[in-house]
Assembly symmetry: C2
Homo-oligomer: 337 residues x 2
Amino acid sequence: MKKLTIKDIAKEFNVSISTVSKALNDSYEISESTKEKIQKYAKEKNYKPNFNALSLKNRSTKTIGVILPTMLNYFFAQVFKGIEKTALKEGYKVITCISNQSYDKEQEIIEMLSNGSIDGFLLSTAKETELNNKYDHFKDSIDNGTPIVMFDRVAQSIICDKVITDDFEGAANTVEFLYKKGHKKIAFISTISDLQIGKQRLQGYKQGLEKVGLSFDENLVLNIIEKDYKKYKNKVRPFIKSNDIDAVITTGESVAVSTMKALKKSGKKIPKDVAVIAFSNGILARHSSPKMTTISQHGEIMGETAAQILINKLEKKHTEITTKIIKTDLVIRDSTR
Amino acid sequence: MKKLTIKDIAKEFNVSISTVSKALNDSYEISESTKEKIQKYAKEKNYKPNFNALSLKNRSTKTIGVILPTMLNYFFAQVFKGIEKTALKEGYKVITCISNQSYDKEQEIIEMLSNGSIDGFLLSTAKETELNNKYDHFKDSIDNGTPIVMFDRVAQSIICDKVITDDFEGAANTVEFLYKKGHKKIAFISTISDLQIGKQRLQGYKQGLEKVGLSFDENLVLNIIEKDYKKYKNKVRPFIKSNDIDAVITTGESVAVSTMKALKKSGKKIPKDVAVIAFSNGILARHSSPKMTTISQHGEIMGETAAQILINKLEKKHTEITTKIIKTDLVIRDSTR
DNA sequence: GTGAAAGCGCTAACAG
DNA sequence: CTGTTAGCGCTTTCAC
């Protein structure tokens, strides 16, 4: 029942605990024969050095704290997958907490884990945190020697490693793609106009228009503040009716689905009359009809990258501060020609 | 930089470390004045007792190990949400690992965490584990004093606390519901016929038929082994063509979407000609057209329940072994009349 | 080649 | 009311 300790093994062979410790760590100080028998015994009995004792001694837990705004989102679930995979590969465990987009929760989590539970944080900021521009909790953590790597939703004002999606380029390239297909009246529908990434996407959209020589028309931009996806249609329908558009870029899948429904309802064919492209994590896009062309985000790679950066930092493999940009890919399905 | 310890505080006030320890724990042995100044100082300096030292001393980590087959699945993400919420509420942290449906991975994870990292496991078995009926790693863990609570995909042969969905009743009630709406030719499409929960759902379907007096026709059951959802339609279309059905129950959302597409393609109206109901986690169902009626699974409640059972067990609040069944709910949307 | 002892940060029994 | 000490499980320096 009780777990086997170095002490028990020492007793078993009538040697000191330091001999056992050294034998298990294959020290040159210990004779081959002693090492062999001790190692064999330890293996047989499935001995494992106690995690907390090691952490205490080494002042390092080989554990990463992950803070996500939510897990009920395919993108973040993918990021998590990448983090977990990379962490495990590198011998790290992952303590995962959900901020639920709340600043208070986020800061409680940081407090809770700042007691030697973890070696560093991997996080995407809560919406509330971003809206209120309250980043002191991050700063405190870094100042206290617990490094942070931020991903996707990052805090501009905090100096730390970051991994972000290429939202700007993604949007710009999409406009260009649509233009080349002959689209001239390209709308932009955003449900995250208040977030930094939303602003980036809008900027990219504008940049794309400029590049191909289309003029920006603010009537072709719809910002939906409403957070309940069921109500998207109340905004989308009139928007579509009152504008003569031939393409739509949306910031998410859910609103793209609403948009496609609204388009169909108003007698438009997709993609014949109107093309639809969404920033997307993939799950709805692949099941919609028609299947959606998406600006695909590579959450898993983002997670892997962020985890690797943090681990390298923890193991002092590099110390400079970087911002890594993960490219988006246009995945062409059936909602574009 | 370096974290404040009890020792530092002791030095600050020229008292012993035990005085500090007791003061911080509000011991009756310490004078009010001493307690006050020490507590005040600790608070100011944001002192936090070292997690690893505490765990080592108490032989308890207040940490739960969670093993999920995948996180890229709305249901499991919901379960995770429930676990995380309950754990945090009870002062527990959560180390989360993904088995990716692999037995080897699952058992590595258990090995890795069985060194005093965690107090207990919360897990849903990997598919491979279930198919091969290899459950020794679970048994070992329990025998070694690390309790396990299983949820959703549980191992019949392992004696431990379990939380499961009411798959049997869910399917049976659905048949009854359809029958009352006038459906007589009710098909059953499964993509998990090899899993225990799949068998339960099929049994429930049969039970439902029996109850309402319809005879079981094995031609109305389609088992899809193919795991790529893109290929579902290859099986679903001929199945639909060769059978004259007026309702379909599926084991998942994804295949329900394929089924609805196939039905529409063959000229059937949903729900007028054929009703569709899926066991579901909700995300696709809410965005399909028509919106899908579902046998809804309450992942979050399952997670909360499982976590609470484990924590109660760890804190010795109860010791008997239970299996808790979470009811399903029929959520009626537009794919049924 | 092996062992004694200190120390990681904390608690608690015991002494004063 | 405060302090000394042992001990949680392990590593590591220093003796022998």
